[in-house]
Structures are given as structure tokens and as C-alpha cells.
Symmetry: D2
Subunit: 485 residues, 4 copies
């Protein structure tokens, strides 16, 4: 079997989270919300529901629609409150024990938690906890949080939870469930998204993106703020700010690629931002051309913005095959060379004899861009210009995005001209850093206090990378561990 050729050359979000408090169909609504967040993780999905007496969980590999298709499964998830999770595996194979939400019986009752992001001191904490006698059942960062809560010396769930949060570092949006509360949390810099929504009847909802509110007909209330803990209970809504009021550093890549174009994240329309990036690109690095062609699907809004600004026709010059699954037949070498075509095909009549500007969201390893350029040239383009709706990706992300090691990033080892040669385009341009910030509505990047986390472009990591920076003697990230149940 072969992982579809493009997967290796794309960044992957790790997770999406969702929760519903007090609704007759809590688990069904969570399943729908997760379905709308499916783009944030396709490997596995899980829901934990509470019915006033018992917690029930269902977790499965695969898509939400399959995992929660069975009436029997949904019947077992009866209950008026539920939280859920979709996941893309970061480390090694996803095993079922790692699928969230995780749950534990603690001295004060049941506690479930779902996590979007990545802890940067998880290994250090894990070593400390194991030394103290804690037994880990998964390789998931999230389990660290469970053990910190469980072993906290504080009284009460909330104080224990805050105690745990104060020990962890990293990017995290969390939704937690106890027997009388649903809790939403964003890390002190608010790197990963989390919004609060509300049904007409007052039922409260947490979601990674607003598109998950839309699918169930809930209204957007507001973002959970950076460093904020929002507690939803029968007493209403409470907000805690145990970290004070740090300045937010939202992940700018959510706007460029991860979030769905119909979502409002961090206060902005994703689609609009992408169109503005396209327009900035056209202004910054315009070149005479006959047609603007997006690399589907993520390049489409930027290409529309580019085309409108440049006054050049926008056409679907590359058609995507939407039936691409995760694997396909093991190809012979001859077939492997056709690889990219499993997913994309040139729409020759829109390309032949034309000067083409391709618009894509980013370049990771560059192997896909090379094949796309080649495919467009084979279809008869006289010139192929590549325009990228983000600055060069020069650094790995440690905050919940699955990036290759730095040495695998084309932009980490090549300058622009080197990259152009690698992908064999006639010209290559990336949006400038300030152009990107302008598209976000900022005058420019504030280098003293950047408005966003842009570490993948700058190496400016706003949260310590404790595990990554740790010494050799700290041992491997994954210690001895038993295989999947």
C-alpha cells in the first residue's frame, strides 16, 4: 500500500474539539460538529458523553461519519452533555488507546478531556509523573494532563485543573467534562483556536471553528480568550484567567491553510484573509499572464483574490479527484511516476498555449510543487509562474502541526532562486511577511511583539520547547511502550 503521494508534502493539523452542554441530543450534535471539523483530523474520532450518572465513551479509527454511524453506538452515548475529538496522529501510528477524549475516574468523579495542540514539556512531566508512580496507558500528551489533575494536591476540580495547566507548556485548546461542568481552555498565548457558541435555547457549545457551530445551527458568541478558562455549568458561565492577560499569539497558519474558508477564526473570515493574501501577492509579485490557476483546493481563495487584483481570468486548470483515499495499490516504478495524478489532473484546454500563474498555499518539501509545475507544463503552458500565499516555511512547528523535520523543509535549505530551480518554475514568489500581516489587517508585523505565532516562518518560538531542547540524557521521546490494544 501507498500513502497517497501528496500526504507527505502537506502540513497536517492535529485535532479538532467540540462540546455540547445540556442538550437532549448532545452526542449527536457533537458528532455533527466533529463532522464539520473533519478537515482538522481524519485518522480517528471519539466522543465521551455523560448522562447524569455514567460516562460513556466511543472511539474509533477513521472518519466521524463511519465512527458514529451505528444507531447502537449513538444509543450508548445517550446523555445531555458530551465532548468530542477528531485527530490526526503526530507521532507514530495512531493507536486506539491514544484516541481522545481521554477519560479517568478520579477521587472526585469522572474527568474527560480532549486536546487540540501539543505540549512542549510533556516528556519532562511524564518522566516526573512515572517516577512518582503514575502509570500511563497511552503515548498521548493529553494523558499528562489527566495525571496532573489526578495527583494534584489542590481541592476541587477547577483548582486541580488550574494546578495542572500551570505546569504544562505548549499550545493547547482543551474541552473537559466533569459530572457537573463542561470546561473550555485556551493556552496563555491562544495559539490554537476555540470558540464559544450558543443555541437559541441557551445550550452552550465549544468548537475549534465556527463552521462547526453552523452545521448544528448554533450562534457564534465569542472566542475563548488566550489563557482563559470558561466553565459551563447549570449555574451558567464563569470565566477564569489564571494566567493574567497575556497578549495573544494566534497561529497565523490557521488562516493560511488549516481552518475551513467558511470559518471565522480569531475574529476574521478565513476566506477573506486568503483573498487578501492573493491580492497582496498580485501587487507584490505580479507577472504578465493569461490565466490564474489555483492548486486545489486550498489555493482557490487566494487565486480568486489574485485574479481579481490582477485582472487576469481565474480558471480551474487543475481538477482534483475527490475519491482519493488514504491508500492505493502499490505502484510499480512506472506508475509511481504518475503519482500526483491520482489526486490532480491538468485541464488541458485551459492551459495549452497560455502563460499560467499557479497559486498555492505553501511549499513544504517541494516535491508536489515540482510535479504540479511539470504537469502544467506538459499540458502545454508556455510559462509557469508559482505564487505562494505564505512566506517560506523555514522552521518546524512544535505547537500541534505535523511538520517534517527542518532538514526536510525546502525553504530551510534553499533560497528563493534555489527553490525555483527545484520546482522548475519560470518564476517563484512568496508573500512577504509584512504583506501577510497586511492581509490580516495589521499595518505590519510588530517585530517586538508579533501579533501572531509565525514561528514556522521566523523561528521565533513564543513558548519554550522544553522537550525539544532537553539534553540527550532525558532519553527518547517514547520510552518502552507496548503495542496497540
Amino acid at each position: 500500500m501507498l500513502t497517497t503521494p501528496f500526504d507527505d508534502d502537506q502540513l497536517h493539523e492535529e485535532c479538532g474539539i467540540f462540546g455540547v452542554y445540556r442538550h437532549a441530543d448532545a452526542a449527536r450534535h457533537v458528532a455533527l460538529g466533529l463532522h464539520a471539523l473533519q478537515h482538522r483530523g481524519q485518522e480517528a474520532a471519539g466522543i465521551v458523553a455523560f448522562d447524569g450518572a455514567r460516562f460513556q465513551a466511543h472511539r474509533a479509527m477513521g472518519h466521524v461519519a463511519e465512527a458514529f454511524e451505528s444507531d447502537r453506538v449513538m444509543a450508548e452515548l445517550a446523555g445531555y452533555t458530551a465532548i468530542g475529538h477528531v485527530r490526526y496522529a503526530t507521532f507514530g501510528a495512531t493507536i486506539l488507546r491514544n484516541v481522545q477524549p481521554l477519560f479517568a475516574d478520579m477521587s472526585f468523579g469522572g474527568f474527560a478531556v480532549a486536546h487540540n495542540g501539543n505540549l512542549t514539556n510533556a516528556m519532562a512531566l511524564r518522566r516526573r509523573l512515572v517516577k512518582a508512580g503514575c502509570i500511563f496507558q497511552s503515548t498521548s500528551d493529553t494523558e499528562v494532563i489527566l495525571h496532573l489533575v489526578s495527583t494534584s494536591q489542590q481541592n476541587g476540580v477547577i483548582d486541580r485543573f488550574i494546578d495542572a495547566l500551570k505546569q504544562i507548556q505548549g499550545a493547547y485548546s482543551l474541552v473537559a467534562l466533569t459530572d457537573n461542568m463542561m470546561i473550555g481552555v485556551r493556552d496563555p498565548l491562544g495559539v490554537r483556536p476555540l470558540v464559544l457558541g450558543k443555541f437559541e435555547d441557551g445550550t452552550m457549545v465549544f468548537a475549534s471553528e465556527t463552521c462547526a457551530l453552523d452545521i448544528i445551527g448554533a450562534d457564534f458568541v465569542r472566542d475563548v480568550e488566550a489563557g482563559e478558562i470558561v466553565i459551563v455549568s447549570d449555574e451558567g458561565i464563569r470565566s477564569l484567567k489564571p494566567f493574567g492577560s497575556p497578549k495573544s499569539r494566534f497561529c497565523i497558519f490557521e488562516h493560511i491553510y488549516f481552518a475551513r474558508p467558511d470559518s471565522i477564526v480569531d475574529g476574521r473570515s478565513v476566506y477573506d484573509v486568503r483573498k487578501h493574501i492573493g491580492a497582496e501577492l498580485a501587487r507584490e509579485s505580479g507577472v504578465p499572464a493569461d490565466v490564474i490557476i489555483p492548486v486545489p483546493d486550498s489555493g482557490v481563495p487566494a487565486a480568486i483574490g489574485y485574479a481579481a487584483e490582477a485582472g487576469v481570468p481565474f480558471e480551474l486548470g487543475i481538477i482534483r479527484n475527490h475519491y482519493v483515499g488514504r491508500t492505493f495499490i502499490e505502484p510499480t516504478q512506472q506508475i509511481r511516476n504518475l503519482g500526483v495524478k491520482l489526486k490532480h489532473n491538468a485541464n488541458r484546454p485551459q492551459i495549452e498555449g497560455k502563460r499560467v500563474i499557479l497559486v498555492d498555499d505553501s511549499i513544504v518539501r517541494g516535491t508536489t510543487s515540482l510535479k504540479i509545475v511539470q504537469m502544467v507544463r506538459d499540458a502545454g503552458a508556455t510559462e509557469v509562474h508559482m505564487r505562494i500565499a505564505s512566506p517560506p516555511t523555514t522552521h518546524s512547528c512544535f505547537y500541534g502541526v505535523d511538520t517534517p523535520e527542518r532538514s526536510q523543509l525546502l525553504a530551510a535549505t534553499h533560497d528563493i532562486e534555489g527553490m525555483r530551480k527545484f520546482i522548475q518554475a519560470d518564476s517563484l514568489a512568496f508573500i512577504s511577511m509584512d504583506g501577510l500581516y497586511r492581509a490580516m489587517g495589521e499595518p505590519r508585523r510588530n517585530t517586538d511583539a508579533p501579533q501572531y505565532c509565525d514561528a514556522c516562518f521566523t523561528g521565533d518560538y513564543p513558548i519554550p520547547l522544553t522537550d525539544h531542547w532537553g539534553s540527550e540524557e532525558d532519553g527518547p521521546r517514547l520510552p518502552l511502550f507496548s503495542k496497540a490494544i
Copy 2:
């Protein structure tokens, strides 16, 4: 479980076919070709390969990438020649016995056949054959062809095959495989598509659409002609025309909806035709608006054409969720009302406060259009105008397209104003018949001898509907039949 809400309100192509003669990786190439034809049928897929001594078959429910993922399966399909089929079930549940290609040992050797289309006298022929002692193992029309070949009094495979073809009525493109030939056939009116392709090394290929040639790097040679039998063997290529030279009546709906936009069918770029339809629509029924929004994905090219002609911005105002599978959780009534949102979501910032023109390919039952209009209005559109890239669909298809009974077709029971009211749009317009033909490059529809099969718009059925018109005493379409193996 629930079939995804939109399925009921869309037309479905029945099948795609593909064949490769004399290639070291015949079956792998057929799997790739079928993958490119996946849009023509997602229910099941099959391949029959011949290695010079034995025929081997693999057929499975589901997508091509799953059905042929296993190395073991592909190893068993070794052989230098192979044909394949993707299928959308027309009658009842798809059962594995119905999955094509069908195969039979006959007195002259093995014979396999894959079929895209529908026979209109299959039941009459079946009754006659059963009376003569033939035993049917499937409910598939295609098996009728097998029995006609097997029981033919002619000598030689080709004469038997022609004998069979002369008895069947209907729309059919066929690819057949014997122990020394691969044969491609189109019915006398050439209703369904079939093209001939070639590898650089001379290997010949049959495919329903050119996009399936692209994926394996084969060149387009020509269409198989209406009523033509093309025989590929080690002796080269032979063309027979047992039906003389009837005038072609290609299915115009292939251009409007079924074919992939990057295919060339019947000599024209599908994408171009759709853009021209959009432009014609803009000229015929333009209305002041702020934004042109396609109903994704099929409405996109027409919307681009409309927007360019009208000088109004094109925006992705409706975002499609590509993770919609065939089923989802059984919704409660409240959730059912959210149904359409499983697949589509309004991109509110592109809609709010604007006069919107929606462009869609067709209206079948109208229930989806109603929900789309509602969704767009809920997102704040001040006006919602629906423009349809085909004439009103007033008649059922009996030539291989899965249409509802006529009484279920909105256009069969409502005039334009009635349809507008039903879908609650501010205005509704369909392209005119002549406008459609103009977009196809014709001056107008030739009413005496129409250039295309447009029966779904006109009721002008060019091939007799023997089974459909038959008397009651002919009995039911499906006689006693045992359940799926």
C-alpha cells in the same frame, strides 16, 4: 442510517468502463483508469484480467482505491490484458453478483464484458432466454448479452457478439475481453461515451472519458464512433460497423453534469462547454447582482462563465464538506432539518447584505435547491436568484442514468414560476434549449434530427423503450430471485 441528504436529489451515472490490451501492468493500469472514472460510479468496482491462460476476476463493493488496495488482489490479477468497471446501482441494492465485468466460460473460451448504459429490452430478452433454458445468476442487464453470445448460432466470437448486439436495444458502451481480443462497442446512436487511447509503446486503451487516459499517461486517439465495434488484437486494430452509419445522438447531460470537467467527450472540452453555458445563461437571463456563487462542485465552471460574461465577482459562497460519506447517524427530526449542512455550508461574509446569483447544473426534485436558497438567505443575502445550466428536467432517462420517476421531477409538474415558488428564490431561470445547443457549438437544436439525446428535457426518446412500454402481462421487471451471495 441515512443516505446523505443530497443523494436523492441528484442524477447518477451508472457506470464507467476501462480496458488495457497488452501491457505488463494491465490490471494496475485498469485500476488507475477506474479511479479516474470513480465519479461515474462509487458503489462497486471490478476487474477481469487474462494472462494468456486463465481469466482472473476481482469484484468488490466500494471505491476503487479500497477494492484494489491489496497487493494480494493485484498479484492475482496478473496478466497482460484487463478490463474494468465502476458501477452505480440502478435497480435495488447492488449485490456482488451484479458487479461487473461479468464473465462466462463459453464453448469458444472465456468471455468477459463490462457495460455502461442500459438496455431497454432486457426483460423481454431475458424472458425469452429463460424459456430456452438459460440460467441467470444476476439481475444485471449485462448478463443478457452474455447469454445471447453464448447461445448464438453464429460461428466465431465476433459474429456471435454482433448477433447479440443486433438483438439488444438501449444505450450501451461495452468493453469485452476474449482470450485474444479486447473489443470496444458503442450503441448505434452513441449515447454513452467511449474513447480509444494509446500508450507510446502502442498499447491500446478503451476508456469512458479522456481523464482516465490522462491518469496513466496514455494519449487520446479518437472516439469510438456510434455503432462502431473496435477490435484490438495482436493483429492490430479492426473497425466494424454492423449497423451502417447512423447519425450520433450523444447524451447531452454528460456535458452538463456527468463527465469530469477535465475530460474531452464527444470532441469537446467539458469545462469549456459548461463555461459557455454559464455565459449563455448570463446573456439570456441576466439580473443585477453583487456576487455569483456556484452550488459546488458541479456548478463551478458555469458560474465562472456566468461571472466573466456578467462582470460580477465569482466567489465560493458555499463551502462543501468533502468528508461526506454515504451514511451518517440517524438524525432526530431536529437534526434532519439541518440535513443539507452535512455537505454544504454558507460562507457568510461573502453573502451577507448582497444580491446573490446561485448557479447550479440542474434541478431534479428541487428539495436541495430549496435548502440551498434558504441557507443563502439565512446567511444574509438580500436577493437570491437561481440560474440553472440545463433546461428543465421533465422526463426520466432510460438510457443509463438513474433518474427518479417522472412524477418526482419538479419540472414535470411545475412551470417555471411554480418551480421558483417551490424553491423560494427571487428569480429562477433555466438555459433555453437553443442556448444549450449554442453552448455546444451548434447554431440551434435541429428539431428534425436532434444532434444530441436530450430526452430528459424533451421526452424525445431516440431508442424504443420496449420493457417500459410493455404490457402488464409481461410481468415484473425482477422475477423471483434469490438474495445476494
Copy 3:
């Protein structure tokens, strides 16, 4: 994977059949009857039911209890009449298309048939039928019968069926189902068993063995006679004898090994016959010993008979592991040498220091006997004597029993002393032919007109072996054929 070691060295019955006419729970009763016949075939099972309007079938690989476990499956098999089949595959892999009962829509209505036995002219008939245009969908002999019925020039189901039976050769017990009859048939020599049973309410039942009547509480009425056709319908029971009254040649191996000990077959208690064989063995070839130990499970009744006659204690000196499935882990060579122990273990305290007589039903290849003797010797036996409850198996069966080729039969290539040396026993004796017939209640074997089919011991084949004796040019048994659906 490894087929459990003993399978290769045991004879296998091909099939068991069962039918119930006019009972509210027809299919459930058939499933129970098949469960009681599971020893006759463990590879696959199937049921066809008729509800007065439609035939429904379910066929599956594996045991009856799994194949018909699902309530949904049983609900679909509603109907007042049903026939069923359990199968052990004779040729190649069992594929689902071969699983019986087979069914066909014929000009007169539906016709289903289940078959226990083997046709000896199936290939010759198949060639003739294919030449006439018949299309075969399976490699099963049984399908020949379907086509003979379907293409018969006779009128009426019964006459067509008789017409078909007159053309086939071989050993066969059949149960057939039409829309108003259930029909039971035994071949003219009555080689394979078939009995008629009755519920208190008059519902009629066909079964391969009486133990299948017991499980559903039906009473044994009588054997279907050799060459008899028994027709059960709403008009009652009719008996036809189209072959006159040939003398029966029932398979003597059914008594020795195949039939369940609690069955009455051909008028005799299987358990009693086996005990009598054991007693004959003790009289014919007694030897001083301390303990009689059966090779479980088939050797138990003969060992009890032997022990009682010899006045030597009977002990379970070999314990069988009943959890042996069809496959186990691929063993290394070291483990392979332990092979036999997956299924059997010596009960050392019953063996150590003792002179042991082992009693087994037959010797096929001899490899198992060798390992058993070795195991018993390793457990401390001072002498190991093997006594076999059948004469030497010198010939292959062509009448429905899965025997190795003749060259693989130990008795075909070794005399008794050679066999003794091969299995390394201190002595070896088989029951004499006349001793066997005495145990059956006969004075001796009537060599002019043997009372039983004993071809596997004598090579005296009472039914022509047309396919087997055919010339090379008749071609291979399995012509071109497509892989399993």
C-alpha cells in the same frame, strides 16, 4: 498459516443436506438440522427458503452457528419451506459461488437444489452443456443438474428432473425445492444417506442423518430408498422409482467414520456397528495388553467394543484439545515437530509402564498414526499395538469423499508389515473384510453382489468413473474460470 496437522491425514465427507416442508419456522429448523450435520462439512453453509412468493437465500463460509447467527439473516429467510446444505470443499478453495443450495429462475419458476455426493460424469456433461450455450457460474457439480433441468425438453418439473437424473452418474443424495414441492432423491445405488422424518404435526423433513431429526424433535420415518424420488407437497407424499429397483450399495465408510455415532443410518446404529467392529478386531487380532486406548474421538466406540470383548481396561490415554481451529501460527521447524500435540496429548499416568493397544478408525497417509505411536511410546508405553477398525484403505473415493490420490494412501503402497514399520508400532492389524461385514450384521461380503460400496478397500467401483477414465483430450477438470466473487 498452517492447516491443522491432522486434516491432511483424515478423510472428509463433502456435505450434509436438510429440508423442511411447511413449517412456521422452516429456516430456523433447517439451521438447527444443519448444525447437527456440521460434522459432514465445516467450510460453508447455505439455506434457501420459499415463502409462497419469493425465494430467499443466504450462504456463508464457516460454521452454521456463525452463518445463521444474525436475526436479520434469519428474518430474511422467512418462509414455510426451506432446504440447506453444509459443505466441505473437495476441489480447490471453496468459493462463495460454490456454496449450496444453488438456485435458478427457470421457465416454470424457481428451482433450488442441495447435493451430497459427487457426480462422476460432471465434466463430460458440463462440456456438452457449455457447447450448447449454457453459462456456468460455479465449479460445482451441482450446477450441472440445474442446467440439465433448465434445458430439458420435458414438461413439468418432475419430468425435467428425472430427465436430468437419467443423464448424471455418481453418488448423490439431493434435496430440491420448487414453488410447490420439496423433493428428496438418492442415486440408484443409494451410496450416500438420506432419511425422511416427520414432526408430530405432519411437517415432513429430509436429512442426511437421523441425528438431525433428533435436534428438532422430528421422528424418523424411513430411509429414502436407493434410486427413489420422494416428492413432498401439499397433496402429501409421492414416491417415484424411475430407475426401477436396483440393489443398494450404501457407503460402508459412513458407518466406520463419517456418520455421527448417535445416528441410525441405513437401518443400523452407527455406535453399535463400531462397537461390533471393535469386538471383531479383538477376536481376530487380540494381543496381551494392559490398557485399550482410543485415538479420539472416532476410535472411541470401537475401543469400547474391543475392551469389553478383550476384558482389558478402557482408558482415555490420549486427550484431545477441542479448541483446535482450522489454522494456527506458522510454526518454525522445531514447533512443527510438535505438530500433533496441537490436537492430542498423551495422558501419561494411563500409559507409563503399560502395554497399550491403540484403536483408530482408519489409516490414510499414516503420518498421524506414526506421531500418535511415537507420542504414546514417549509417554512410557512398554508396547504399542495399533488396531484399525477398517480394512486397509487402498483406493481413492470418487463418490463424495475427499481422499488423497491413491499414491498417497499408505495401504496402496505398503503391505501390513510395511505399514507397521512405517508407523513404528509393535504390531498392526486391520479388521478383515468379512469381519467388517459381520459387524454390519452380514454373514460375510457377498463378492458377487457386495452389500455395500467398499471401493476404498477393494477398488470395486460400482458406478462408472466417466470423468476420471476420460482421455487427456477431454481437458482439465476445471476449465478457464474466474476467481471468487
Copy 4:
């Protein structure tokens, strides 16, 4: 679906354990050993292997032969040391998380443990551990041991393990695995069995019963003693006795029913003990009869012993269907009444007109005995006498045997005559307590210091039942718990 009718009316052992230290094929040998112990648990199986660097685990529902059939699975279990477990679920549904061996990364390295038995203070310990912050992932008693080891204040694995063992109460045989030791333990009273075996090359083996040594060709060395810890490492074998030298109280029911007849447990041949019980029964409660019939399979050795002592013929008058799986079709009431026949059938010719003595191992609820007596009477027995190879089962077991609640035990609520009436036998007798002890080779039961644990017959529980005797406020056995992963 229906659990096979007999399951409810039989006692079930919970588990079997097995371990191999330093062998090239450790995991394969463990799989074979578990296969030989399959009678001790059929619900699930697991193996943990260590290759000098990493621990690997595979656990699955179902039989050993299925769970470890895959070459891929076995390849992943490479390593020179492995322990394994077969399991019968005691509480609720078996879920995969409960399948042993359990494993945890602890501060000193990996630690795996497999457990046969039951802890009687598991809930009390669990509550204490949860209060201290431990997170449990399973409902298994065994996890308590893991947490006790993990949180122990002692240094070194052995001291931590002993610290844990000193806190637990109950019946337990354990096999544990660390990165340099394999450890076998029996509880201070040695209630559950555990033996030490050795290959010729010195490889050491732990097994629940000797039959598991036989299958891999290992020699029996000795029993692990009551309260003994046996440590196998590269330094050789070490024995610790942290509990001093308490007098053993081995479970007498292992001899009566659980252990395989070819095993030597606690120094005695199980088969011999059962024969002696049968002989004692014949002496204590003989009655004139024509035939001795065992209730298969567990009653066979006792029936042989009875028959030999009584001089009455032993016959297989009841035939068992070995193809009974865990479920079957949901029967209608009529079929339910046939229930017992799914598994057993009367061998009528051995019964009809005879005075029958049935020999069974025990009576639990009595429902099966009732049906068996009825079946034998229906087959024509003139008298039916039931003889039971154990004293009346009047008390539940809390030491690892799955018994019904006391109120469900027929002997807890009926005297002998009441039980006889219930099962409708002509006479009923159980072996006396002293008769049972005589069969074990003792002069009688030493009432001051019984030689065995016979609590199920006497209510004399040698180990405190802390959880069972605990007050209401201790809460339910299973607190809030999430559903199966």
C-alpha cells in the same frame, strides 16, 4: 443471539497463564502453551514479549489460534522472553482493555503481569489508590497490582512487587515480566495452580497446568509452592518466601472439573483423581443398573471409574456436538425447548429399555441436569439415576471461579431429595466430603486444617472476603467507567 444454553449452568475458570524465559521462539511457544490452556478461558488471549529493548503486546478477543494466527502479529512479538494469558470474563462484558497481560512503564522500566485468580480486596485497594491520584484504565483486579508496584516506596522491582503482594488478598497465580526477569508467584495458600517447567536446553517455563508443558515438549520440574516467588533470570533461579511457609489450600475443584484430565496438578493426575471419585461414588451410592453413561465431556473419567468399580458397562449414551459456538440463532419458544440438544443428543440404542446411571461432575443451577435426565428418559431409559462427582455446591467462589450468586445454586436452596425432584431423576447421590478426600489420597477431610480449599462445598473461606463483606458505603464494585475502547 443466544448464549449457548449450557453456559449458564456451568462453572467457569477465569484464566490460564504461561511464560517462557530465554528462547528464540518465546512468543510462539507461549501461544502454544496458551492453546493447551484454552479450556481455562476462551474469551480473550494476550501475549507480552520483550526483546531486550522493547516490550511488545498483542491482545485480542477470541481463541488463541485466531488471536495469534497472523504471521504479522507473531513477527511483532519477536523477543526472547514472553508471558501470556487466556481469559474468561468474570464481571460484565470482557473489553479489550481488560485483556491481560497488563503492562506499564514504571520508573525502573517496563513491567507486565498476567493473573489467574481473584483479589478479594481489590475494590478497597482501588479506592485507596484512586484517592492517591492513580488513574485506572481497566476494571481488572490485576491493574491494582500494577499500581501498587508503581507507587511502592520500596527500591528495586522485587521489593516493590513483594510490597504489593503483601497488600493484596485473594487467590492468585501470577507471571510477571521485567526487562531482566520472569517471575512466578502463587498466593500464600496456593489456591490456583502454577508449575515450573524446563526445556532440555535449560529454558525455563511457567504454566498453569502441565498439559501446557507437554505441548511444547518441556519437562515438568515442580509446582511453584504456596506463597513462593520464583525469579527466573540470566543468573538462574531464585526462590523467595516472603509469607513464610503457610500450609497450602489448593482448590479442590481444579481436580473435579477445571484442570485438563491429562494434567498433573498439585502432584496428582487429574484423570486418576476423577476415576477414583467415580469408584468412591460406586461404593458409596451404587444402584443396580444396565449402563453407566457420562455427561460429556467432564463426566467421562468418573464414569469410567464408576463402571469399572461397579462392573456395569460404560457407554457413550450421550453424544456431544463439538461445533457448538458461543451463539446461535435466536430461537422461538418452540426451538428454545429443544435447547439442550444444540450440544447433546441421546444415543438411543444405548439407552432404550435400560436402567441408566448418569455421571456428571457437579450440579450448579440444575437446569441442565433436568434437561439431560429428560432427554435420557425420552430416549427410553426405564430408570435414570444421577451420580455427581463432587459434594453439593452450596457456596459461591470468590477466588477466581465464575459461580452464580448463592441464591442461584440449586444445592444452596434444596436438600438432596429436593434436588432429585427438581432434576426428576429416580435417584440422586453426591460423593461425600470424606469420599472426595479419599479420592485425593487423604484419609479424610481434616476439619481443623482442611488440606484443600473446598469453600464452594463448605462455606469455609480460607481468605478474607474484604470487598464482599464491605459495607454499603464502600460503593459499587464498578464506579463510573467509560465504555470499551
